[in-house]
C-alpha cells in the first residue's frame, strides 16, 4: 500500500520557466506548427521553381491595378502589403490599450484592425477575380515563361494554393478579431480583470502579417 501515495503533485517551483500565461504559450506553439505548414508550402514552391527551366514573370502576371489596367507592376501588391502592415500596427495598439485596461481604445483599434483585414481580403478577391478572368486558375496557366516559352500550371497551382491558404488565415483572423470585439463590448475582459485574450488574438494576427511578408517576397518580388 506504500505506492498509493504516488498522487501527482502540483508544481510549486519558484520561477515560472516561460513566464507567460498558458494560453499564450500554446498560441506560440500553434504558430510554430503553422509556420512549418507555410514553410512546407513555400519550400515546395521554391523547389519546383528550381527544378523548372522557365517561370512566368511576376511583373507581367501581377501587373494590373484595379481601374488603371495593366502596366503597373507591384503597385497593387504594395497596397495590399501596406494594408496588412497597418492593420498589424493597429493590433499592437489594441493589445497595448488592453494592458492599460483602456476599453475605448481597445474597441477603436480592434475596429481598425478588422477594417484592415477586410480591406486586404477584398484586395485579394479582386486580384483572384482578375487572374481568373485572364484564364488563370488551378490547373490552367495562360502566362508564358519570362523567355516566352510554354509554362506549366505549377505557377498558378502554387500561387492560388499558397495565397488562398494565407487568405484563409486572414479570414479566420478577422473572425477572431470580431469575436474579440464583441467580447470587449460585452465587458467580458473588464470582468476578468485583464485583456490577455486580445494579446493571443494579436499574436495570431501578427503571424498572418508575418506570413504575408514571405508570400509577398516569394511570389511578387523574386
Amino acid at each position: 500500500m506504500a505506492n498509493t501515495t504516488a498522487i501527482s503533485q502540483t508544481w510549486k517551483g519558484g520561477k515560472s520557466p516561460f513566464n507567460v500565461e498558458y494560453g499564450k504559450l500554446m498560441m506560440w506553439y500553434f504558430l510554430m506548427s503553422d509556420s512549418f505548414t507555410f514553410g512546407a508550402l513555400l519550400i515546395a514552391y521554391g523547389t519546383t521553381r528550381f527544378a523548372t527551366n522557365g517561370w512566368p514573370n511576376p511583373n507581367i502576371v501581377f501587373g494590373s491595378f484595379p481601374g488603371l489596367g495593366p502596366g503597373h507592376p507591384l503597385l497593387f501588391v504594395s497596397l495590399m502589403t501596406f494594408i496588412l502592415i497597418m492593420s498589424s500596427v493597429t493590433m499592437v495598439l489594441a493589445v497595448h490599450a488592453g494592458h492599460k485596461m483602456d476599453k475605448k481604445q481597445v474597441v477603436k483599434y480592434l475596429i481598425w484592425t478588422i477594417i484592415g483585414g477586410l480591406a486586404f481580403l477584398s484586395c485579394q478577391a479582386i486580384e483572384w477575380t482578375h487572374l481568373h478572368s485572364e484564364g488563370a486558375w488551378w490547373g490552367s496557366n495562360p502566362f508564358p515563361n519570362s523567355d516566352g516559352s510554354i509554362s506549366t500550371s505549377n505557377f498558378t497551382n502554387f500561387f492560388f494554393t499558397i495565397t488562398g491558404f494565407h487568405g484563409f488565415h486572414v479570414f479566420s483572423g478577422v473572425v477572431i478579431n470580431v469575436i474579440m470585439l464583441i467580447m470587449t463590448l460585452q465587458d467580458k475582459f473588464e470582468h476578468k480583470g485583464h485583456y490577455l485574450m486580445i494579446e493571443k488574438a494579436g499574436l495570431y494576427w501578427h503571424f498572418v502579417d508575418l506570413v504575408w511578408v514571405f508570400v509577398f517576397t516569394c511570389f511578387y518580388l523574386i
Binding site: 516561460f18 523548372t52 522557365g54 502592415i85 493590433m91 497595448h96 508564358p144 502579417d209 508575418l210
Partner: protein
C-alpha cells in the same frame, strides 16, 4: 509592452511603448519601400549576377522584417530566454529544410537538362500568343 501595465504614467507623459510601436512601423515601412524599389529596379534587367544579388538583398530585407514583426509586434524579444529558445531552436530546422529541398530541385533540373534532350528542347518552345476571338472563353474552375 507586457511590462508597461506596471508602469504608471505621469499625465502628459508620452507613452514609450507607443513610441516604440511607431518606430517599428517606420522601420517596417522603410524596409518595404526599399524592397519595392529593388523589385522595380529588377524589371527588364537581364538575368545576371546583379539580378541574383538584388534577389539576395531582398531576401535579407525580408528576414529583417520578419525579425521586427516577431521581436517587437509579437513581443518575443522581451519574453524570457527559455521561451525564445523553445520557439527559435525548432525554427533552425528551416535552414536544413530550405537548403536540402532547393538544392535537390536544382540538381534534378540540371540532370534532366543533361540527360534528357527532349526536356531541354521542350522548355524552349514558344507559347503561341492568345487568340483574340477566344478571349471570352474562360477555362472553367477545376475541370
Amino acid at each position: 509592452m507586457a511590462h508597461s501595465a506596471t508602469i504608471a504614467l505621469q499625465p502628459g507623459q508620452k507613452d514609450p511603448a507607443v513610441k516604440e510601436i511607431w518606430r517599428i512601423t517606420i522601420i517596417l515601412s522603410v524596409l518595404t519601400i526599399v524592397e519595392l524599389a529593388l523589385g522595380f529596379s529588377m524589371i527588364g534587367m537581364p538575368i545576371e549576377t546583379l539580378h541574383y544579388f538584388i534577389k539576395g538583398v531582398i531576401i535579407i530585407l525580408m528576414l529583417a522584417k520578419a525579425f521586427y514583426i516577431i521581436g517587437y509586434f509579437m513581443h518575443l524579444k522581451h519574453e524570457v530566454r527559455t521561451l525564445i529558445m523553445s520557439i527559435g531552436i525548432p525554427m533552425l530546422l528551416f535552414v536544413w529544410f530550405i537548403l536540402a529541398f532547393i538544392m535537390d530541385g536544382h540538381s534534378y533540373n540540371v540532370m534532366k537538362n543533361r540527360y534528357e534532350p527532349y526536356y531541354k528542347e521542350k522548355s524552349t518552345i514558344q507559347m503561341p500568343p492568345p487568340a483574340e476571338e477566344h478571349k471570352e472563353v474562360k477555362p472553367g474552375g477545376l475541370d
